[in-house]
């Protein structure tokens, strides 16, 4: 009997010792949760989707920007020297960008509006504005574009951008403006940049 109780106490002590020692060991890893692997793939997919959307948005923004740039190239003004209707060298690049967009966008038609500064006579400035508009149409035709895509008109000196009576204002007023009259929703970015 005594022996049996001793065993029990030894066992108990052993158990106690054992239990004390066990406290210092790291806990066993938690049992694996069943949902674990599925959540990972969802996150990855979401990240991928987000990335794709971001890329698409970026692409879209880039395309929109390119489209906007193309539209701006079409409507950018060109300026002229006093009493002159010759295309200035600084206007060549502006017009060449228009030509590139127009080549890529066959549906687009433009109205070219010639303007003059306030000096000289009102009626003669109508003729001067008309020469300025025609000079640009001729530039387009020489670049191989169909003449029928362009309307020209002149407002003479009657619609200035700047009201001042000084060279700074006059230089801004001797200009051609461009209005997209058809194909405004079918502008294509030149160089295949769809």
């Amino acid at each position: 009997m005594l022996q049996r109780s001793l065993i029990i106490s030894v066992v108990a002590a052993g158990l106690f010792v054992a239990s004390c020692g066990q406290e210092e060991l790291p806990p066993p890893p938690p049992p694996p949760v069943e949902e674990g692997p599925n959540q990972d793939s969802i996150d990855a997919a979401r990240r991928a989707a987000e990335e794709a959307a971001r890329r698409a948005a970026e692409e879209e923004a880039r395309r929109a920007a390119a489209l906007e740039a193309a539209r701006e190239a079409l409507t950018a003004m060109v300026f002229f020297d006093f009493d002159m209707a010759e295309i200035r060298s600084d206007a060549q690049g502006v017009l060449q960008r228009k030509v590139d967009v127009l080549r890529a966008s066959p549906a687009v038609r433009l109205r070219i509006e010639g303007h003059a500064d306030e000096r000289g006579s009102s009626e003669y400035n109508l003729a001067l504005g008309s020469r300025r508009a025609e000079a640009v149409r001729q530039f387009f035709v020489n670049a191989g574009l169909a003449e029928s895509r362009f309307d020209v008109r002149s407002y003479g000196e009657e619609q200035p951008r700047e009201m001042g009576s000084n060279e700074q204002s006059w230089a801004q007023n001797r200009r051609d403006e461009f209005v997209i009259t058809a194909g405004g929703n079918q502008i294509q970015v030149p160089g295949g940049g769809q």
Binding site: S121, Y124, L126, S130, E158
Partner: protein
């Protein structure tokens, strides 16, 4: 029979020395001539090449003195009489044909004391009496020849009610009768001037103003660029350029009703600068197409038949007919885009043009906006030589640009248009205080503003509206 004109010696012979002499203003005229001469020397440099014979204004040696006795009124005419007198007095002053004496209340309504008026220095005396009964007003007008102590003309004119729209125009027509009685020449009081100007809403519209600067009214409300108005020869219609329908087009308006139609030439290009043929049935205008704009005619009555008059890779524009309709003055840059010049040519296809502006090879010069004088021998235009200011000039058609009369010496001056009296021009002037509409008397050189502080463009002076507006003389 004595002619309407009297010679200077006739007057000098009978005029007593004294107050009358001073009133004749010969010293004033001399001072004016000297002042203008000084300005001319400076202005000549920037307006006219040195080889061109340059003329200043030639002053009349004799200008008759005209006095107006205060108009009297009977019954309802009592309050109307001073208003009629004021309009007539100003019209006669604006005619620039008289030295105007201040109105002297010398027994108004009584018998005219010719001896006393003679001592005051008057050559002519106008008296008037307005009778009013109900809404009916009659002006009894007398023109007295003070020198011969007699009534030269006497007429009864029925007048509209003073608050009626046509009241002033009816009185203007009477003023023109007085001018014709004395000088045998047409007046210009009964006329209007059309032009374009920016409206309060910011669009350029057509306006019209009486020759004396009264009755400024807007004619169009298109809310788009409208300009280059031109009166039909009878003053009932007007042609002009407008973008009102979206595209630039020539429009024609019935002035009384303001009913407007678009002339459809069925041809591409921008039409500009329309003007009527003296027969009133055709217009001539410029059509910009490609690098050129040529002159075309169109029959407005039949609304048909586009006919080309000039062609070439340049701009021909701003045509103006000679009074007989056989020749055209126009503006062309065929010698260079920056050096537009004035030409005249027979009004037929491919007529040979002759220069009338003072072009010299390699010397530049910018001359535009011709208007053929009613007298038929002169063309007015504006321009400058090299980088000078723009001034109003008149060229003898026969002298081909080698004889020019310069009328302005101050600021910039543009777009002259002849009055129906063939003596005055309206133009747009720029002064250091701003822009305005001015009238210059081509005989005395006198300039007066019609509208100041606005910026009018391309004015056109109407023909005489006296026959259509004035009530028939009530004799």
């Amino acid at each position: 029979m004595r002619t309407a004109f009297r010679t200077a010696s006739d007057i000098l012979h009978r005029v007593p020395a004294g107050a009358g002499q001073a009133l004749r203003g010969s010293t004033v005229l001399l001072a004016l001539a000297l002042a203008a001469g000084a300005g001319r020397a400076a202005a000549q440099v920037d307006t006219i090449p040195g080889t061109v014979r340059h003329l200043g204004v030639v002053y009349e040696s004799y200008v008759p003195t005209l006095a107006i006795s205060p108009f009297t009124g009977r019954f309802g005419g009592l309050t109307v009489a001073p208003r009629v007198e004021a309009v007539i007095a100003r019209d006669l002053r604006y005619s620039d044909r008289f030295e105007m004496m201040d109105s002297i209340p010398l027994a108004p309504g009584g018998a005219v004391d010719y001896g006393l008026w003679d001592q005051f220095g008057a050559d002519w005396l106008v008296t008037g009496q307005v009778e009013g009964l109900g809404n009916r007003f009659v002006l009894v007008l007398e023109l007295h020849d003070v020198v011969f102590s007699e009534v030269k003309e006497r007429a009864r004119f029925s007048l509209p009610r003073p608050d009626a729209e046509d009241f002033r125009m009816a009185v203007h027509a009477i003023s023109d009768d007085v001018v014709r009685w004395i000088t045998g020449e047409p007046g210009m009081a009964a006329s209007r001037i059309c032009f374009s100007m920016e409206s309060a809403a910011g669009s350029q519209e057509l306006y019209v103003v009486d020759s004396d600067g009264e009755n400024l009214r807007r004619l169009t409300n298109f809310n788009s660029l409208t300009m280059s108005c031109s009166w039909s020869p009878d003053g009932s219609r007007m042609a002009f350029l407008s973008f009102a329908s979206g595209d630039p087009a020539i429009h024609e308006m019935e002035v009384a009703t303001r009913q407007t139609r678009v002339l459809d030439f069925n041809r591409a290009g921008q039409p500009m600068t329309p003007v009527y043929h003296p027969n009133g049935e055709e217009i001539i205008f410029s059509l910009a197409d490609g690098a050129e704009s040529g002159l075309f005619s169109w029959r407005v009555r039949e609304d048909c038949c586009l006919w080309r008059l000039t062609t070439g890779r340049w701009n021909d524009l701003s045509p103006s007919f000679s009074p007989d309709g056989r020749r055209l003055a126009f503006n062309s840059n065929r010698l260079g885009v920056a050096i537009p010049q004035i030409y005249v040519m027979p009004a037929e296809a491919n007529g040979r043009p002759d220069l009338v502006s003072p072009y010299l090879y390699g010397q530049g010069g910018y001359y535009t906006s011709p208007d053929w004088a009613p007298s038929g021998d002169r063309v007015a235009f504006h321009g400058r030589y090299r980088r000078g200011s723009y001034h109003i000039l008149i060229a003898d058609v026969a002298a081909q640009g080698q004889r020019l009369l310069q009328l302005t010496y101050e600021g910039n001056n543009e777009d002259p248009s002849w009055a129906p009296d063939g003596r005055h021009l309206v133009f747009v002037g720029e002064r250091d205080w701003g822009f305005g509409l001015f009238v210059v008397d081509t005989v005395s050189g006198r300039i007066r503003p019609v509208l100041a502080g606005v910026r009018p463009r391309v004015p056109d002076w109407s023909p005489s509206l006296a026959s259509t507006r004035a009530p028939a003389r009530d004799n």
